[in-house]
Symmetry: C2
Subunit: 299 residues, 2 copies
């Protein structure tokens, strides 16, 4: 039996890691990225590369879209070189971008009308998870979409949550997750800066809080970068201005108030305004430090 | 060698559990509470009770103060029947209330001037931890204070963080913890209500988020009460209007902005305004549900 053919669109830090994880799992992987350099990175890791979207998907069983947002996903599917009509009949499109649930539902309906399948499958786990094939997928879609997507999900994911057959539910769950992570990282910044203001030893604060009721996954994961003063981007501030923006746009469209998420978004926007858009999202603490004249650890 | 004599002031749900844990550890425990009913509860569990503060502390090696705030602690120490001068010379006073660090430092200095010791030892772990002798203490004080307090800390605590010899550091750490827990519980409420608004299955949201980057100790601990619709108070809304109030008073006194904590405080105040002050702090979700007309699970 021939290996399942997977086309990966978008070879950034997430997409490249996912493509390589699929290769390691024995799938036949071809990748595409607008950047020749990113294509070369996949080739160096043993993957095939395609020179265009059409060439990428023409023989694919599974297309994995690892682009930034709904607009890019829409362009990939329905733009000038969109794959919606060049994908083989019956193939599945796995969309990994964080987006408003309604956008996911609309694109799924439009793609499915043409005989292809759509899996709404945003993910979490960062580049570490992508490289290890250990992502979490929050996925929804038809049973056919799930069945066809299975080899890629297994290769790239460790936990695959099946959230029903309506595209949009995966995106909804991802937004709830991003609301919480976004608030928690901002709260970690506020708390660590206040700890510094009160004269506490920051290493001690990390040790105590990590083992107390104040702990969160985000606190435990991000505070080490504050302690080492290393704000090189594992996940950039701009990801959360984007994702909390989607959370709040969605909430507003639903007539739902989300003041804590709104407040956290302002913290990331302050970090962007201070020139830290491309730095690690733990940089929120540096906004407080700047305002209050605090000395944080330097790398 | 005679058992260490411990006097416990305040036999509420926390103090009673701590007194009983000390009894189980073999200490000689006497308790005091203004309420005869609470005194009777300790007597029923095998402890001695005192009819006044003076009688409680006159032979105590260790006095554990489990009252609500700085004002009550001050009254216990320096009020009309205050124990500052009736405690034996050289005994230690363990203060467990959450309070502004400066208040702790002031009371410590005043008590120590009279030859007694003060340990600034706020705790976390709730009634479950109190009953099991498994609290976390965030403690600071002189080496003498720590040495004398040791038998009680060991009997009542599982984790004892020693945060240096300056009273106030324990209180500072507790405030950082409460800032985070307070924001996290409010964020859990906002997120669960938004999940309901988006039509997600709330049990599924709990399962996914508990295992994803959006997890926090508070989310995992409090959301089950939302799923079961049981808002009977394990930790009441009013605890967080109090504790975030102290966090924000302290921040303001330091000239430090804490907008996320401020926003979370408003969420608890909204819950109080809606008549939920004595309900479980997870009731924040019910404020959103009330505003947005959502149906949450009922017990």
């Amino acid at each position: 039996m021939a290996a399942t053919r997977v086309g990966v669109i978008g070879l950034g830090s997430m997409g490249l890691g996912m493509a390589v994880s699929a290769l390691k799992a024995g799938l036949a992987v071809t990748g595409f990225d607008l950047s020749a350099e990113r294509r070369k990175a996949l080739a160096g890791a043993g993957g095939q590369v395609a020179e265009s979207l059409s060439l990428l998907v023409e023989e694919a069983d599974i297309v994995v879209s690892v682009v930034v947002n709904a607009a890019q996903t829409e362009a990939v599917l329905f733009g000038d070189q969109g794959v919606a009509e060049t994908m083989p009949d019956g193939a599945v499109f796995i969309s990994c971008a964080t987006m408003a649930p309604k956008r996911a539902a609309e694109m799924a309906a439009r793609l499915e009308a043409g005989g292809r399948h759509y899996l709404d499958a945003p993910m979490s786990g960062g580049t570490t998870g992508a490289n290890a094939g250990a992502l979490t997928f929050m996925a929804s879609g038809s049973p056919d979409a799930f069945e066809r997507a299975e080899p890629a999900l297994q290769a790239m994911g460790e936990k695959i949550y099946r959230l029903g057959d309506a595209a949009g539910r995966g995106s909804s769950m991802k937004l709830i997750n991003q609301l919480l992570v976004g608030v928690h990282i901002a709260a970690a910044g506020e708390a660590m800066a206040m700890a510094a203001k009160l004269g506490l030893d920051l290493e001690e604060v990390y040790e105590v809080i990590s083992n107390s009721a104040g702990a969160s996954w985000a606190f435990c994961d991000r505070v080490p970068s504050i302690l080492s003063g290393d704000y090189s981007p594992k996940s950039a501030v701009s990801i959360f201005t984007k994702d909390l923006g989607i959370v709040l746009d969605t909430a507003r469209a639903e007539g739902f108030p989300a003041p804590l998420a709104g407040n956290a978004l302002q913290a990331y926007l302050m970090a962007e305004a201070a020139g830290m858009a491309g730095d690690n999202d733990s940089s929120v603490v540096r906004v407080y430090a700047k305002l209050a004249g605090l000395d944080l650890p330097q790398s």
